[in-house]
């Protein structure tokens, strides 16, 4: 399977702390994307990192990509209760146009 697999499956932290989620995959990729999903809601795109990029920032988000290890991490700094959601990585491979999603990390940020 080429799917992304996130760890941890669940993460509970206090507001103000940083949250780090990891994603591993098995094939070569074109790009890797991170999405957020609030409970029972749609997927919101957070950030996209191309295979030739190593790090990307967007606001409080920092994504790294290590293609040699076939892994990516998403760091949310100074977390807020509103960051509570599930976070998914998704990979785009080859010449195709389908995203393959990982299993997701459920993040809970407590006050």
């Amino acid at each position: 399977s080429q799917q992304g697999e996130e760890d941890p499956q669940a993460l509970s932290i206090q507001e103000g702390e940083n949250a780090t989620m990891n994603c591993s995959y098995k094939t070569s990729i074109n790009n890797l994307q991170w999405y957020r999903q609030n409970s029972g809601r749609g997927l919101v795109h957070l950030i996209l990192i191309r295979s030739n990029e190593r790090e990307k920032h967007s606001g409080r988000l920092r994504v790294t990509l290590d293609t040699s290890k076939k892994s990516s991490s998403l760091l949310i700094t100074a977390s807020r209760a509103a960051d509570t959601a599930s976070y998914f990585c998704a990979i785009l491979t080859g010449g195709g146009n389908k995203l393959t999603f990982g299993t997701g990390t459920q993040l809970k940020v407590e006050l």
Binding site: N31, Q33, G42, V44, H45
Partner: protein
């Protein structure tokens, strides 16, 4: 900010009935997708659509499923004879460019239609 709109938000149907899930992609996007998420499971790719034809489909997308862009605006997913295991959240998405959205911003997903087959 442009949105992908899906209707209805929730549909309950009897097993064996046909359902049509509707989506209005972002107007200048060229690529359209359907994904589904069974409760508690991964988001799974169903089908991609470009230039009025299917460009890729998964094993899940069997003969019971079809997609259509009937009027240049709407993008529909039809399930001909629903089964209990079709119960899931169905997401429509669109992108401007193959594989990535505008400016490398990823796909834009709709809020989903929760399909419940009883």
């Amino acid at each position: 900010e442009p949105e992908v709109t899906q209707t209805p938000s929730h549909q309950v149907t009897q097993m064996g009935q046909e359902v049509i899930l509707r989506c209005v992609p972002i107007s200048n996007h060229l690529y359209f997708y359907w994904y589904r998420q069974i409760l508690g499971q991964k988001v799974e790719f169903l089908v991609s659509f470009y230039n009025n034809e299917i460009s890729e489909k998964s094993e899940i997308f069997d003969d019971q499923f079809s997609v259509e862009r009937p009027d240049g605006s709407n993008f529909t997913l039809k399930i001909r004879s629903t089964k209990l295991e079709d119960s899931a959240m169905y997401f429509c998405a669109s992108s401007e460019i193959l594989g990535i959205g505008a400016g490398g911003a990823g796909y834009t997903f709709g809020s989903g239609t929760r399909l419940t087959v009883v």
